[in-house]
């Protein structure tokens, strides 16, 4: 019994990372209606930003330590936001108003460009790197369950970021503009909302969350490599579809559900080796039986 709950904690920690990335997919899908394949690679760049920036930060703040960790988180999120905005500017903006398939193929191209450039020995190299320790290690038990500091922080940070995002989207003017663009971009621009600015902002926000996810992933799994964004990114996309693409709470829920399901499946003896296939099986089942996802609303296709 205790083990079931313990697995739940592990699953939620993995799901929290999926949730942070899934939100980026869902937000970009909301405003531009296409799958940003390169999003998983922004997550990877987040991890590597943390890896390279941690020694610099350690000169001002002691690492592992809470102040240093906060500095690493914030600077990584800012750098990733800039990366996301630049990707949109260079690769996707010239393709505005082109067929969606064209943009999708470009996104795959951007994703491969980032992966293979980073794998080159002049950049990160293809080998796995050990993520630096950012927080003092610690274990504590609560109601018979043992948490380590990292799991606690992963879940806590995810909740805080989700709350901040909800606040931005629901309560601020720019959030209202984002919702307007997502609802009807032509009408929004007639109301004086700059689509270009909102799209850039959305990319920045989504990429910052992916960067945070990259740091949290690095803290949990300690090994990072340039192709880590492929699988995690695809699974986060599955999470976004599972929750209903375009729906923010849905993406968070989908991420958590997927993380828990995967962790339980990985713990079962018969099917543990099929773990990587489970996300895709879920995707296919969802798309066939409930394409709008768990929380999505139905859209009617118009000619």
């Amino acid at each position: 019994m205790n083990e079931i709950f313990q697995q739940l904690v592990n699953g939620l920690a993995l799901g929290a990372v999926y949730a942070l990335i899934a939100i980026g997919y869902t937000m970009v899908y909301g405003v531009l209606r296409f799958i940003n394949f390169a999003h998983g690679d922004v997550f990877m760049l987040g991890s590597f930003t943390g890896y390279y920036i941690a020694p610099q930060i350690a000169e001002w703040f002691p690492l592992p330590g809470w102040a240093g960790w906060t500095a690493v988180m914030i600077s990584t999120m800012i750098i990733c936001a800039i990366i996301g905005i630049v990707i949109e500017l260079l690769a996707y903006r010239p393709l505005r108003n082109r067929p969606r398939l064209t943009v999708l193929i470009t996104a795959i191209g951007v994703s491969l460009l980032i992966e293979y450039t980073c794998q080159h020995k002049a950049f990160f190299g293809a080998s796995q790197k050990a993520f630096p320790k950012l927080l003092p290690a610690g274990n504590f038990t609560m109601g018979g369950l043992s948490f380590n500091t990292t799991q606690f922080v992963v879940l806590g940070v995810t909740l805080i970021l989700l709350a901040a995002l909800t606040f931005i989207v629901k309560k601020t003017r720019i959030g209202m503009a984002m919702r307007a663009v997502s609802h009807n971009s032509a009408a929004a621009s007639l109301m004086g909302i700059s689509n270009t600015f909102i799209i850039s902002f959305t990319f920045g926000l989504g990429s910052a969350l992916a960067g945070a996810g990259g740091i949290l992933y690095g803290m949990t799994y300690t090994g990072i490599e340039p192709l880590m964004g492929v699988n995690v990114g695809l699974k986060a996309f599955v999470a976004a579809v599972l929750g209903g693409i375009g729906n923010l709470p849905g993406a968070a829920l989908g991420g958590l559900v997927l993380g828990v399901v995967e962790t339980y499946a990985g713990g079962m003896s018969g099917i543990s080796t099929y773990r990587d296939g489970i996300a895709f099986a879920i995707l296919i089942i969802i798309l066939i039986f409930k394409p709008t996802g768990l929380l999505g609303s139905k859209q009617i296709e118009k000619v």
Binding site: R98, T102, G109
Partner: protein
């Protein structure tokens, strides 16, 4: 004279005769060159069959390597079993049936993928086909009979120039005739405008599934040729990158342009052989090429037909 050459059946015969002659002279060829030429043939089959799905029918599939792996594994398992039971002497006779069996099983996989495509379009379909490809790979990685993660090895080397290019000719012939037939115009109609096509009484569902089944069949054949050319296969060979390479060929050649796609398949197979010095940059170059093409020349590098209508909407 020119009319004779316009008869596709005659062209098919000429091509097969050429393949047989090439096969007979193969022993005089440097084995390295004949190996590369077989690679080219396999790439052409893959690209032309994917072109039926992605180009002519406009359904974006990212799972071609999955179908290829099904054909490779099924045919290799058949020939390996036969090698044990009837000995290597009779194997060449079993090669074609084994290839076809691989193709048929791959076509069944195509049917399986085609059915969800009834409800999905564009990017969703791309992800689902990618997912199917990955699921197929994970299954092969876990099935003991297929050698699990270490794959199959010691597959008899049965693929020669004759088989490869006979099958290239058959693939190009079948796909070409299909698309140019009255029935086949439906593929293009579905590609251009699904709603208009169905209002003209065509059944888009049937066309999409047909495209997936036929495309998967030939991908399976290509997989069988590949397995009996390389003599060992592992699940990792058929990953997403393999699918993507074929997609690059189709995009570069121009979606729906058979001649362009064949040219792109030849070029992209030869390029790594000539560019050994910059091999580490190959994928970076592919990726840049794709981004550049989509921004500057989305109709394909080798597509010189003038645009009839804007590609918008």
């Amino acid at each position: 004279m020119s009319r004779i050459f316009k008869d596709p059946r005659l062209l098919l015969l000429i091509a097969i005769a050429g393949a047989v002659v090439a096969g007979l002279s193969a022993d005089k060829m440097n084995p390295y060159y004949s190996g590369v030429v077989i690679d080219i043939g396999i790439a052409i089959i893959l690209a032309v069959s994917l072109n039926l799905i992605n180009g002519h029918t406009g359904q974006f599939s990212l799972g071609h390597a999955g179908f290829m792996s099904v054909g490779a594994y099924v045919s290799a398992m058949i020939t390996l079993a036969l090698q044990k039971s009837i000995g290597p002497a009779a194997l060449p006779w079993a090669f074609l049936p084994a290839l076809v069996a691989g193709g048929v099983v791959a076509a069944l996989a195509g049917l399986l993928v085609g059915v969800p495509s009834l409800r999905l379009k564009g990017d969703y379909l791309a992800i689902v086909t990618l997912g199917f490809g990955e699921i197929i790979r994970v299954i092969f990685q876990n099935v003991e009979a297929a050698g699990a993660a270490s794959g199959l090895s010691g597959i008899p080397r049965l693929t020669g120039l004759t088989w490869t290019f006979t099958l290239v000719a058959v693939t190009v012939y079948v796909v070409g005739c299909l698309v140019n037939s009255t029935y086949g115009r439906g593929f293009i109609a579905v590609h251009d405008d699904e709603v208009a096509a169905s209002s003209m009484g065509l059944n888009p569902t049937r066309y999409k599934v047909t495209a997936f089944v036929i495309g998967a069949f030939f991908a399976g054949i290509a997989g069988g040729l590949f397995a009996h050319h390389k003599t060992s296969i592992t699940p990792q060979v058929f990953d997403f990158m393999k699918s993507f390479e074929v997609v690059v060929m189709v995009i570069l050649g121009g979606m729906g342009r058979t001649a362009g796609v064949i040219l792109a398949a030849i070029l992209l197979t030869l390029a790594p052989e000539f560019l050994r010095a910059v091999a580490e940059y190959r994928m970076i170059i592919y990726a840049l090429l794709i981004i550049f093409m989509m921004i500057a020349r989305p109709q394909g590098l080798f597509n010189f037909e003038r645009k009839k209508k804007p590609l918008a909407h």
